[in-house]
Amino acid sequence: MFRFILRRTGSAVVLLLVLSAIIFVLQAVSPGDPVKAYLGANASPEAIAAKREELGLNAPLYAQYLRFIANLLHGDLGQSFRTHRPVLTDLQSFLPATLELVLFSFVVAVLLGVLFAVSGSLRLKGGALFRGPLLLLAAAPPFLLALGGIVLFYAQLGVLPASGRGVDSSSPTGFVVLDSIITGQPDAIGLTFQHLLLPGVVLAIAPAIAIGRILRSSLDVTMSADYVRTAESKGLTPFAVLRRHVVRNSIGPGLSMAGLQLGFMFAGVVVVEQIFSWPGIGNYLAGSIPVSDFPAIAGVTLVLGTVYIVTNAVVDILQVAADPRLAA
């Protein structure tokens, strides 16, 4: 177990290095000039030369990469062309909103996925009425879902807000739900929850189907296993057979798919945040793309990529903790 954690952590570190190398190479070939980001377009040639020297852009490539890594470790992600602020500062103010949205959405996705799998596998009455529309929605591009949601729940019914978090993001931790609880403001909880609902569900649909399908097929396989027949031959009730023999043996694939999807959601969040004007780093990225703000794009890629890699490593380790046979 300990060995496995060590091995998995090691491979995550390697992945982070590779990701950083890719970003470094892309930065080198990208047309934008980092010097101008600091000095503006009208800087004098002398000032530019001095800044180039200061940023180490005249050093050999390997030295530049080492410096790039060193900078990363110090939290220096460069300067945004658009906001003219350090990318790190920008990200720090936007990350909590993204985490809050993704985690909320993940919970929704898992709930929907489990419902999808169980209703299908146990042939619950009316289950198809739930699964059919969900499958249809999953084929739609998320931006279309978002627009549909806004038209229906905001414009037509007027029950849900269409943009923002409802509260000023500059609260103590940046996690407004958490803050509302800490500071004891029940109204704020309701308000922030309302704002979370639409983007959260839109982001959850595709992962829910992915989780649901894999869980469904592993449930089906498990239920036709010989040992389940043995359990039934013992005269156990259907519920006892499920709880004692089916759940544990079928949960594995669902767990790892859930981990994978959590990772994917950190990429999918970009579009959703933009449409709902959610003040997270996805929205920040979406704003950086049209103006070719490469340092910002690279920064977001690195941060979300790191979250993705770490998430997957943690999920793998949790899975092995649940089923030690997988460590081999």
């Binding site: 084929a139 994917f264 890629t301 990529g305």
Partner: protein, 288 residues
């Protein structure tokens, strides 16, 4: 035999044969015919489009059903039907190209790894797993952002992160076929190594590869639309489904059809390709 009652002694069912074994075949063929028509429409989109997609030719913001503009016009008077048709062309063929690239690159790597085994396999699969463990969409975004925004770069960006999935699956299939008794039997019968690979292993992998690819097209359609929505596609006047939605977002609550229709076109494409993937799987499973 007399009429027999259905017994219901078991609460749970084993996996259902997909969809329904009998209805399956006809439905699958119908879906594939629909996909064929879609491909033809995409192929001849320029001919079918009633107007030039980038030229303003009518009144502004006409609602769908307007005379001469069945899907209406946008805020500067361009014909939405024409733009959508061209958008479908771009989106559909781009998706096919990406899937084909994944199949070819992943196929070569997968077959090589599976056939040679040993250190070749280990090296190729380390490389593949590395790419598989990276956040693909984000890396694709970063690549396009670094190379510059146009369709070609978008395709490059996605292709770079898309093949590992195919390499993994195909390598696994090659390995499993290589371990089957009929391959050993061919070895004993004296078949050469190349002959074994191309006659006794690869033909067995083809159906899985085809099913994998056809089930994947819908994913690519959605990813391309998403990147296009973010602006990582062709520059402004060119018609593109995702971008046309993004550029007209502000009209959502006044003239909803302008941003929504391109999105609906994406939905149709992705839905049809998902159904097509299931259809291909059903038909191939029947053949075996």
């Amino acid at each position: 035999m007399t009429a027999l009652p259905e017994v219901g002694t078991r609460r749970f069912r084993m996996p259902a044969a997909s969809l329904g074994a009998h209805a399956g075949t006809r439905l699958s063929v119908a879906i594939l015919v629909a996909l064929g028509i879609l491909t033809l429409v995409a192929l001849f989109a320029r001919l079918l489009a009633p107007y030039d997609p980038v030229q303003p030719i009518g009144a502004l913001n006409l609602a769908p059903g307007a005379e001469g503009h069945p899907l209406g016009t946008d805020s500067i008077g361009r014909d939405i039907l024409s733009r959508t048709l061209i958008g479908v062309q771009v989106s559909w063929f781009s998706s096919l190209i990406i899937v084909a690239s994944g199949l070819v690159i992943g196929g070569l790597i997968g077959v090589a790894a599976g056939v040679f085994g040993g250190w070749v396999d280990a090296a190729l699969m380390r490389f593949t797993d590395l790419f598989l463990a990276l956040p693909g969409t984000l890396v694709a975004i970063a690549i396009v952002a670094a190379l510059g925004y146009n369709l070609q770069n978008t395709l490059i960006g996605i292709a770079v992160v898309w093949w590992p999935y195919y390499a993994r699956i195909i390598r696994g299939e090659v390995k499993s076929f290589a371990a089957r008794p009929h391959v050993e039997a061919a070895r004993v019968a004296g078949a050469s190594r190349t002959r074994i690979v191309f006659r006794h292993i690869v033909p067995g992998v083809v159906p899985t590869a085809i099913v994998t690819a056809s089930l994947d097209i819908g994913n690519v359609v959605l990813l391309l639309a998403g990147l296009s929505f973010l602006g990582l596609g062709q520059p402004a006047p060119a018609p593109e489904l995702g971008a046309d939605t993004a550029r007209n977002l502000s009209q959502l609550l006044s003239e909803w059809w302008v941003p929504v229709i391109p999105g609906l076109a994406v939905l149709v494409l992705s839905l049809l390709s998902n159904l097509g993937g299931d259809a291909v799987r059903t038909l191939l499973a029947k053949r075996r």
